[in-house]
Amino acid sequence: MPESAAHELMLFGLSFNMETLKMTWMVMAVVVIMSIVATRNMKLVPVGLQNIFELIITSLNSQINANLGKRGVLFAPFLISLFLFLLISNWWGLIPGMASPTNTLNTNLGLALLVVVMLHVLGLYYKGTKYIKHFFEPFAPFVIIKLIEEIAKPITLSFRLFGNIVAGELLIHILPKLLPNIFAEVIPGVIWLAFSTFVGIVQAFVFTMLSMSYLADGVNDEEDA
């Protein structure tokens, strides 16, 4: 997918990729509409979309409670939104004519940086000097390793997702060109789509779980007491 100049929009000296933004808005619209449909006519005995949303929210909530402790409730909407957005984004590129918002580092690094900045801000807010001190433990020289770790966090988080999604989309585009005709493409194409669907769930889950465990460093009050 070559980025043509037509997709670029210059504003305040910054360039914006309109393709990515359009896809992001579509995904956002889909997620919001799905959530409205799921919660519009809720019943005590859940059916259909309500069931799926409840499943996602309760299973993530139990993870959040286990990792973040009692402050987890504050960050549950953030992490649940992250999962839903990444899930639909990852799958969005599998629809012909569409592209995943997560196939660009702009989205992935943005989200990863948001998580890491949240971690440090919340760590300082909740734990104060203790949070700074933990970079120098058990010995002062450890600060080098700790800093590398902190820098690696957003990079690994974003590149993992980026690589998986880009690879999936590229192969979808390349497969027809590698194979002689459309009939030969059916079987590998379907298999690859199925695999990409699976990868989409796994990557959304991995990103969310890692964000959760990173945030746990700053938020969890286990050792506060």
Binding site: M1, E3, L11, F12, L14, S15, F16, N17, T20, L21, T24, W25, M28, V31, V32, S35, I36, A38, T39, M42, L44, P46, Q50, F53, E54, I57, T58, A76, P77, F78, I80, S81, L82, L84, F85, P101, N103, T104, L105, N106, T107, L109, G110, L111, L113, L114, V166
Partner: protein, 167 residues
């Protein structure tokens, strides 16, 4: 794809907007629904437990009443049987007494009759003997001497024979 530009900031804003929207449209209503359901299930369980407890209580009460009723019935039967026994005993005693009385009366009658018969017999024997004797011996003995003679004779009879007469 790999170039980083202003899109990153736009995506941040987009995502934050999405978080806010999802918090309103998905998180809050679903959490509310989950709490409602939890409360409803807890209520149902509690009321079921209450019902069960109540049923058990009723059953216990019923069984207790049944046992009491049984006890009372037994008591009534016992009382009735005792009374019947008493009445039976009393009537038996009374009957025995009556029989005894009747026997006594009969005995007395017999004795009286025998005495009367003996007296009568004695009188007749005297007059018969007198007539017989006066004819047989044809000797004129005055009345007083006759009476004495026969009287002695009868006395002897009395002592030796009359007692063994069966009547």
């Amino acid at each position: 794809m790999i170039n980083i530009d202003g899109t990153l900031l736009a995506q941040l804003v987009n995502f934050i907007v999405l978080v806010i929207l999802l918090r309103i449209f998905a998180y809050k209503p679903i959490m509310k629904m989950l709490h409602d359901r939890e409360a409803k299930i807890a209520n149902s369980i509690e009321s079921a437990e209450n019902d069960e407890k109540k049923a058990k209580q009723t059953l216990d009460e019923y069984q207790k009443q049944l046992a009491e009723a049984r006890l009372k019935a037994q008591e009534i039967i016992d009382k009735a049987m005792k009374r019947a026994q008493q009445e039976y005993d009393a009537s038996v005693v009374q009957t025995k007494q009556e029989i005894e009385q009747m026997r006594q009366n009969a005995k007395e009658d017999i004795v009286r009759e025998r005495a009367r018969a003996a007296t009568q017999l004695k009188g007749e024997v005297v007059s018969l003997s007198m007539a017989a004797a006066s004819k047989i011996i044809a000797t004129n003995i005055d009345d007083a001497a006759n009476q004495k003679l026969i009287g002695e004779f009868i006395e002897k009879l009395d002592k030796n024979k009359l007692g063994d007469l069966s009547c």
